[in-house]
């Protein structure tokens, strides 16, 4: 019986060794891939950073208002952030590739799904970025228009515009990512609707006079007693 145990053990050990020997090259390949991936990712990061600096990406993101957000969140500048993000994504890609080489089954599926997920992630980020830009631009436009038209509480209006756009953009981004699509849509719908209703009430009640004057100026010709006390600038 002792011989059986020893032979079983040795067999098991041998199998382990064999399995290990079988496994080792793959491990080594994986490590090589990870290393190479790191190098490539680094190169890409540096290249991307130079390109972004060249096109003054920081400036663009400043206009988008993204820079302010980043600083508040104690994050580095947009260029830096994007470069690093790309670095990690590339390296991660190579790591996952290496893991795939290992041949562990369940993992492969997950990896495949991850790679499918990546483009959508980029699109979502893209949408968010330009959405922020738009939100910033339009909210400022609304602010200026409201101030120049002597509309009360211009900042509220500006904020409202910004919020609407951000919420809108967020919901598109989430839909793109496929995360809780329906929920987001519904939530957006509710939020947007509520906002609009609120504004309508506020506008209707508070801005009644303004609305009247506005409509008069547009559609009623002949009633020109407007602004007698305003000077002509030209």
């Amino acid at each position: 019986m002792r011989e059986m145990i020893i032979s079983e053990l040795s067999q098991a050990l041998q199998e382990l060794a064999r399995g290990f020997a079988h496994f080792l090259p793959r491990l080594i390949v994986m490590l090589i891939l990870i290393f190479v991936g790191w190098v490539i990712a680094y190169v890409v990061k540096v290249a991307l950073r130079s390109i972004l600096r060249l096109i003054k990406f920081d400036k663009l993101s400043e206009k988008a208002g993204a820079s302010q957000l980043l600083t508040k969140a104690a994050l580095p500048s947009a260029t830096e952030l994007l470069s690093r993000l790309v670095f990690w994504v590339v390296w991660l890609g190579f790591i996952l590739l290496g893991v795939r080489v290992l041949g562990i089954l369940g993992l492969q599926e997950q990896i495949a799904r991850f790679f499918l997920f990546l483009p959508r992630l980029f699109v979502a980020i893209f949408i968010m970025f330009f959405g922020m830009l738009a939100a910033s631009f339009f909210s400022r436009a609304a602010l200026l228009a409201a101030v120049n038209a002597n509309v009360p509480s211009p900042r509220v209006l500006s904020l409202a515009v910004r919020s609407i756009i951000i919420v809108f953009v967020l919901s598109i981004a989430f839909e793109e990512l496929g995360l809780a699509e329906q929920t987001m849509l519904v939530a957006f719908g509710i939020a947007f609707g509520a906002l609009m209703l609120g504004l309508a009430i506020a506008f209707g009640m508070g801005g009644r006079d303004l609305a009247q004057r506005f409509l008069e100026k547009r559609f009623v010709r002949g009633k020109r007693e407007e602004n007698d006390d305003e000077l002509s600038p030209l």
């Binding site: 206009k63 400022r140 602010l143 101030v147 006390d229 000077l231 002509s232 030209l234």
Partner: protein, 422 residues
């Protein structure tokens, strides 16, 4: 790159029929049927009276009128097809019309008129806005004679205004053009003006037409082109300036046409204005006329309020545009009551220059920069009105002169902030 021509075939055919002319009158219109009739009849009789032997043409650049304006303009042509049109005219007078776009834009209208002037080899041209009422009956010859007879290239008008009207011109455009370009042109942005065929051709060739903003303020660009091109400029007193419709509320569009056009021109003209110092005056013709001093109602309270509101609400915007010290000053003034409120000349000049520099660097969208200037301008108007409340015509003139000198004095400051951050 071959651009599609903006002149229609039909218009070109009409130009062929007109042939070479000595005098061209350009008339941009859009739904002006109520007033255009008397304007073109005056033009016709002025041409017959002052230039009876010259070949003349009236070019109507219409921006999609639907009230029969073009027909009213072409109706004053004199030819032998309708013998009763005018028995005392020596020559045929063509009056032709073209629709340059489905909706009006002053850039499109001017471009069409300049193209016609070049193709017809017109020597002396004049553009008349259909919106000005009551300007002197001799306006046509006042704008044309310096060009036709004395060889000038540009004749800008000088209007007799109320001392509180046209403050955008007297407090911003005039002093700034004077300080930066070194030429004392009173109305660099002008709805009517005279120009020579030479200058027109040159401006037509410049690529200002695709600069966006739909050609707003293209008239100002025209004046600046004349200055930078070294053309001979003079001014002519043209009588009262009365708008057919008073437009106090249209400050933002007015700013776009003046400050906006000026700021955007500063980019390309940098080599010129950066090296100019001081300013030269420009020959002026016509009898001197007193500025009108009658009391006029001004809602001063609203001016000051809009200033304060603007400063408060647009804080985030101003931070991108103004220097911290200027912004702090403005905030301080904004808190003052009506009695103590004062927007001094120097601060105003700094404000304007900082805006110009911010525009140059595109710190935010350029149109937003222009819009942001509106409330500040209102504050300046308030101060000007208070200062000149009891002033005589000479006093007003002196105050404006003082403001101009302030602009000239602070020009180095503009140069300094223009270059910083590049």
């Amino acid at each position: 790159m071959a651009e599609e021509s903006f002149l229609t075939d039909d218009f070109l055919r009409q130009l062929i029929n007109v042939g070479e002319v000595d005098i061209l009158v350009g008339l941009p219109t859009h739904n002006n049927a109520k007033t255009i009739g008397s304007i073109v009849h005056t033009i016709q009789s002025d041409i017959l009276r002052c230039f009876p032997r010259e070949r003349a043409v009236i070019i109507n650049a219409d921006g999609g009128s639907r009230d029969g304006t073009p027909e009213l303009v072409t109706g004053v042509s004199i030819d032998d097809v309708r013998p009763a049109s005018n028995p005392y005219a020596l020559r045929t007078l063509h009056s032709i019309s073209t629709r340059y776009a489905p909706s009006p834009s002053s850039g499109g209208a001017l471009r069409t008129i300049l193209a016609a002037a070049e193709l017809l080899r017109a020597k002396a041209c004049v553009v008349r806005s259909p919106e000005s009422a009551n300007i002197e009956s001799e306006w046509l010859s006042k704008l044309l004679r310096p060009i036709h007879r004395d060889g000038f290239d540009l004749v800008t008008p000088i209007y007799r205004r109320h001392k509180f009207e046209g403050l955008l011109i007297t407090n911003l455009l005039y002093p700034m053009v004077r300080a930066l370009y070194g030429v004392r042109i009173r109305e660099a942005y002008m709805p009517e003006f005279g120009f020579s065929g030479r200058l027109g051709s040159q401006f037509l060739g410049q690529n200002v037409w695709n600069d966006g903003a739909d050609g707003a303020g293209v008239e100002l660009r025209f004046t600046l082109a004349a200055i930078t091109g070294g053309y001979r400029i003079c001014q002519s007193l043209l009588g009262d300036k009365e708008h057919i419709e008073r437009r106090g509320a249209d400050l933002v569009p007015a700013l776009r046409q003046t400050a906006g056009a000026l700021f955007s021109a500063l980019e390309a003209d940098f080599p010129v204005w950066s090296s100019v110092t001081g300013s030269q005056s420009v020959p002026t013709t016509g009898t001197d006329q007193e500025v009108s001093l009658e009391p006029v109602r001004v809602n001063r309270k609203r001016l000051r309020e809009m200033f304060s509101t603007g400063v408060a609400e647009l804080d985030s915007v101003f931070q991108s545009i103004l220097s911290p010290s200027t912004l702090a000053e403005l905030q301080r003034i904004a808190r003052l009551g009506e009695e103590e409120f004062h927007y001094p000349a120097e601060l105003w000049v700094r404000t304007v220059y900082e805006f110009a520099a911010a525009y140059h660097k595109s710190v935010i969208s350029r149109d937003h920069i222009i819009q942001a200037l509106a409330p500040l301008f209102r504050g300046r108007v308030f101060t000007f009105v208070i200062e000149n409340r009891n002033a005589s015509a000479d006093d007003v003139e002196n105050n404006i002169e003082g403001l101009c000198l302030e602009f000239e004095r602070l020009k180095p400051y503009l140069l300094q902030i223009w270059k910083s951050g590049e």
